[in-house]
């Protein structure tokens, strides 16, 4: 399972990347592989606000429905429109073209609580 070194992670298998205007959120290689063929992404409206840990999107594979939880509290500033027609991008390139959304975080403190790549890899070992 790929766990890029420049990202931060959650226990619920989201990844985050800090950029100048907000943080990008996606699901990890482990998560997409566990879900199997992803056939639908139900993304939030731009402007919607979520607290840390709240469900902000839903991804469906042929078999299962999975909630995507806010890694940190924030306001949605962009969603990946390409997923509307091509949800399979999440399987094909979960850390790139298959990103889900970008949000503007409400607090710096919550960002510091995210898992490092090493911590996330340890979590995967325990799940495996």
């Amino acid at each position: 399972m790929k766990v890029p070194a420049d990202l931060k992670y959650t226990k619920s298998h989201e990844w985050t990347k800090v950029t100048d205007d907000g943080i990008i959120v996606g699901i990890t290689d482990y998560a997409q592989s566990e879900m199997g063929d992803i056939v639908f992404a139900d993304l939030p409206q731009v402007g919607a606000e979520y607290k840390k840990g709240e469900s902000m999107a839903v991804i469906e594979s042929v078999k299962a429905v999975s909630d995507i939880y806010a890694p940190v509290g924030g306001t949605i500033i962009e969603v990946n429109e390409a997923l509307v027609d091509s949800p399979e991008l999440i399987n094909e390139d979960c850390y790139g073209e298959g990103w889900l959304l970008k949000l503007s975080p409400h607090s710096q403190a919550e960002l510091d609580e995210l898992l490092s790549p090493e911590e996330y890899e340890e979590l995967l070992e325990n799940e495996g």
Binding site: G36, D37, V39, F40, D42, V58, E60, S61, V62, K63, V65, V84
Partner: protein, 374 residues
């Protein structure tokens, strides 16, 4: 693994299968991916391990009379060598299980749902203990020592021939034969996919031999191993019901659209209740297609003009049609194909329409062509 495993569990692990719990069994849910496996069955050929299913024999001097008494369909209309779809119903007409009956000259084999095997056995033993069947009927749970494979898809006949089982190409749909030195290999032209296909019932010790023999044809013939995930999407495209999702003891055959498997002209358990409820059901199991984006899953509410009219029982994205389809119980007044309805998905209404079944044309009765002359 927490549940029971089939004799082929190590073969599945070596193929990188993902497992899921189903009816108390740890079963492969997917190998290469549900969509890939689904399309392999529609376009080429798929190999399934179905050893979790129950196999029960009804034997003894009153075996056929007993089968006729506990089953809703007319067993005697099935000649020896034929397979018949049938139901076990309770006295109140609820569906205990749906199953396949293999008619032998003086006994029958029932192939039952894995999740219902224990319940069916208990029910059958209870009934067999009553007069006039007591001491004259034996209920034999042979499934413990047996394995089941299925070979399904337009290339299934070619694959069977290449595996040395060319004689099964003569079988019409819903017929079977016994092969092997002692008739220990039972092969039927049956399936749960809507394609031409065969199901093979064998001693558990032979499972590895046959699995490996079929898998040797994977490369040359494009055969793929298929898990329960694609088995579910394949059956849903055909509108075939799944026990536990679309039918159970609270549903009657009439509302499930299975009335064709109920023969009121004979006596059987549940007959009086079913005769009384015939034509009086207020809901019907129907197919629907979704027009809006999303997937309608089991349990979602179906509405018409803002009023709830039913519940989804099964739903998926059809890999063949690339759109969301499903089965739902709806008020009978809204059950006609073409009726516009809405499915409530996470609080939002998605436009849908009642649709005729099957969603994808059935090819189960397509003629079988031989590659080689006999």
């Amino acid at each position: 693994m927490a549940g029971r495993v089939t004799p082929l569990v190590d073969h599945h692990k070596r193929l990188g299968a993902r497992f899921t719990e189903f009816g108390g069994w740890e079963m492969p849910v997917q190998y290469s991916g549900i969509i890939d496996e689904h399309l392999a069955v529609r376009q080429g050929c798929g190999l399934f391990d179905l050893s979790h299913m129950g196999e029960v024999e009804i034997r003894g001097p009153l075996a056929l009379e007993f089968a006729q008494w506990v089953l809703t369909n007319d067993v005697l209309k099935a000649a020896p060598g034929r397979v018949q779809y049938s139901l076990l119903c309770s006295e109140t007409g609820g569906i205990i299980d749906d199953l396949l009956v293999y008619r032998h000259p003086d006994y029958v084999t029932l192939i039952v749902n894995a999740s219902n095997t224990a319940k069916d056995l208990e029910w059958l033993l209870q009934q067999a203990n009553k007069p006039p069947y007591r001491g004259k009927v034996a209920i034999v749970n042979v499934g413990e020592e047996r394995a089941i494979l299925a070979v399904q898809g337009p290339k299934a006949p070619e694959v069977m021939e290449a595996a040395g089982l060319g004689e099964v190409l003569d079988l019409p749909y819903m017929a079977f034969c016994l092969l092997g030195d002692n008739g220990e290999l039972m092969v039927s032209r049956t399936g749960y996919t809507g394609e031409i296909g065969y199901e093979l019932y064998m001693p558990a010790g032979d499972a590895a031999h046959w699995w490996e023999r079929f898998m040797m044809l994977a490369e040359p013939m494009g055969l793929k191993p298929v898990g329960l995930g694609a088995r579910d999407t394949l059956r849903l495209e055909m509108g075939y019901t799944l026990y536990g999702s679309d039918i159970d003891e609270s549903t009657t055959p009439w509302e499930a659209g299975l009335g064709w498997a109920v023969k009121l002209s004979k006596e059987f358990i549940g007959r009086d209740a079913l005769a009384a409820s015939k034509g009086r059901h207020s809901r019907l199991l129907v197919g629907f297609v979704l027009h809006d984006r999303g997937i309608a899953r089991g349990g979602y509410t179906v509405q018409a003009e803002g009023q709830p009219i039913g519940k989804v029982t099964s739903g998926c994205i059809s890999p063949t049609l690339n759109r969301a389809v499903g089965l739902a119980y709806v008020d009978i007044s809204r059950s006609k194909p073409g009726t516009p309805v809405q499915i409530v998905i996470r609080g939002k209404e998605a436009a849908a329409e009642i649709a005729p079944l099957p969603f994808v044309p059935s090819r189960v009765k397509d003629p079988v062509k031989r590659c080689t002359e006999k």
